[in-house]
């Protein structure tokens, strides 16, 4: 499947998620990898958040995990994931940095062109200084840009201290040196469209069949913690996304999982929209069943779960979830 289609799927998904639906555009998780954010911003016609830079470096940890530290604005993110092997890569995984699921720890900190520093409480601390070393890379220029038309990446090493240990020690790293880069600007403001319509002239509208995806959404939220599942069926492909957010005092933890599967088996629902079953692939496990009674009451049950770094088999069903099933006519 082409990346553009997938990114459109994700964008649709975020538009349709109950709590994200009307959320401010800035709500796209900064914890998500830049390419994921950039795609969403482009698809949702968001204005890039201005000039700036992003610093990042990656460390290898045990059990196949990588820990990526990203500094942007005054936000420092420690992102934990397990990269997929090259053979399994597909465009969807690219949206999550070639990982099926990631757990991101987000804190406010100091981010300058020379330094990344933030405290993650009981999880650890990052305090490193950037020393440029090696090449300065420039990406190929993009067309139809406002402002910068390419990225400049300055390679170098981050020296100092990184100490991080996930919940229960599922991942731990301690390092004093890592190779990384500083990239600017934060985002390019370039149009991907070949055609620009003038607002000065009327233009014909070609009617056609409506494009209404089937959406099964379930979410639970209490206070400063939430768990959302989205199932989005567009044609022969179904997208599954789970987002878990929790505020932990002076930091936040965000978990993301994404998968796609052929629609035929992974999402089955009846014509009356009173019953649906989903069976998503990894990193999800099990099945979830949606039922709607004649009085409008709904249930969302089954052994469905998702595995995130540090949270294996997090249940995605239960009485506390509010579920909806919608589709076109």
């Amino acid at each position: 499947m082409r990346l553009s289609t997938l990114s459109a799927l994700i964008a649709c998904a975020l538009c349709l998620l109950p709590s994200l639906a009307a959320a401010d555009p800035l709500d796209i998780p900064a914890a998500a990898p830049p390419q994921f954010r950039a795609l969403l911003r482009a698809k949702l016609h968001m204005r890039p958040p201005g000039h700036g830079f992003e610093s990042r470096f990656t460390l290898k940890a045990q059990h196949g995990y990588t820990i990526t530290v990203v500094g942007e604005g005054d936000v420092v993110v420690v992102e934990v994931g397990r990269p997929l092997s090259h053979g399994k890569r597909n465009p969807l995984e690219e949206l999550l940095g070639f990982k099926q699921s990631v757990t991101a720890y987000v804190a406010r900190g100091t981010v300058t062109e020379r330094r990344i520093a933030a405290s993650f409480g009981k999880f650890g601390k990052v305090d490193v200084r950037f020393r440029p070393k090696g090449q300065v890379l420039e990406s190929g220029p993009r067309r139809r840009c406002r402002g910068a038309d390419h990225f400049t990446s300055r390679l170098g090493v981050f020296l100092g201290g990184v100490r991080f240990s996930g919940e229960g020690g599922y991942v731990a790293v301690r390092s004093h040196r890592a190779r990384g880069r500083l990239r600017s600007p934060l985002h390019l403001d370039c149009s991907s469209s070949r055609h620009r319509f003038s607002n000065r002239r009327a233009r014909p509208v070609h009617g056609g069949p409506s494009f209404v995806p089937t959406v099964l959404a379930a979410s639970r939220r209490h206070g400063v913690s939430s768990l959302e599942l989205l199932t989005l069926r567009v044609g022969k492909t179904t997208l599954f996304a789970a987002i878990n957010e929790e505020s932990l005092g002076s930091m936040a933890r965000m978990r993301f999982a994404l998968a796609t599967a052929p629609s035929k088996k992974s999402l089955v629902y009846n014509e009356a929209l009173t019953r649906a079953t989903i069976t998503p692939p990894k990193p999800f496990h099990g099945t979830g069943t949606y039922s709607a009674a004649s009085d409008g009451a709904t249930t969302w049950t089954g052994p469905l779960s998702a595995s995130f770094p540090g949270a294996p088999r997090l249940p995605l069903t239960g009485a506390e979830f509010k579920a909806t099933l919608t589709t076109g006519f």
């Binding site: 401010d24 204005r47 987000v106 206070g223 505020s247 509010k322």
Partner: protein, 259 residues
């Protein structure tokens, strides 16, 4: 005025503050028996005539040298972001409002403003606005007619708040002043970490549309320290408000300086 709809439900891009089921008793708004009493009349309903109809929010009279400052949510003033639109239509504050009555008259705005970051980025972390109002028909200045709260900036987030407002969506009707008393700080919205600026605040209170801009007071209702910004449809029991930091202090000083 009874036909007014919560403004926050009319603006594109806003999170809806709506209820799908009655909230639990622990976080329920309670009706203020007499909103004209000294402690309650600083709170009021805001009505805004827009091309899309009459919108509404909540606000608080704040003590200032010009006796005319109202604090509310920024999205009741400007839609936010670089392409934000000003609510520079007829914008009025009605302190102590109840059942269509205006016990202290109507105070139309003559000046409105928001935090700079709300106008430039639309970040929820800066969703605070202020208005300077003219005299009512009796010729009274706002704070001389109803008084005003103090306002505090830069305090620690962990406070116990009284949440005031005029929620207009079900199960409320916007005709009575409501209060959630002594609600402690719960934490920060996880998404607040992703935007620049001070982290916003969460409390247990079942707000609905129309309560936006309602004051969060501390010290027995005498000091304003946040305003209602938003909630999530799948958790009606939690109310989110902006932290009052340096940028809100700047906004206050700008408003207080308006003649």
């Amino acid at each position: 005025m009874k036909a007014a709809r919560p403004l926050d439900l009319r603006l594109p891009g806003r999170r809806q503050i709506s209820l799908s089921a009655p909230a639990s008793a622990s976080s329920a708004f309670e009706t203020v028996p007499d909103p004209t009493l000294v402690a309650s009349r600083v709170n009021g309903a805001i009505f805004i005539e827009t091309p899309f109809g009459l919108g509404r929010c909540s606000g608080t009279s704040v003590n200032a040298p010009n006796y005319s400052v109202v604090f509310t949510a920024a999205h009741c003033i400007n839609t936010g972001g670089p392409h934000g639109r000003w609510m520079d239509f007829r914008w009025v504050f009605v302190p102590g409002y109840r059942y269509g009555q205006r016990p202290f008259g109507v105070f139309p705005a003559k000046w409105i403003d928001t935090t700079r970051q709300w106008r430039t980025t639309g970040s929820e972390n800066f969703d605070v606005g202020a208005a300077v109002v003219t005299r009512n028909q009796r010729g009274q200045l706002l704070a001389k007619a109803v008084g005003g709260t103090g306002i505090a900036f830069g305090l620690k987030a962990r406070q116990v708040f009284d949440i005031h407002g005029y929620p207009a969506e079900e199960p409320f009707d916007g005709e009575t002043q409501q209060i959630c008393t002594q609600t402690p700080f719960l934490g920060h919205d996880a998404r607040s970490f992703l935007s620049p600026g001070p982290l916003n605040l969460a409390v247990d209170c079942d707000v609905t549309g129309g309560a936006s801009g309602g004051g969060w007071t501390i010290s027995g209702g005498t000091v304003l320290n946040s305003v209602t910004n938003y909630g999530y449809g799948d958790d009606p029991d939690t109310d989110f408000g902006a932290y009052f930091g340096k940028e809100v202090a700047r906004l206050f000083h700008r408003a207080a300086g308006v003649k």
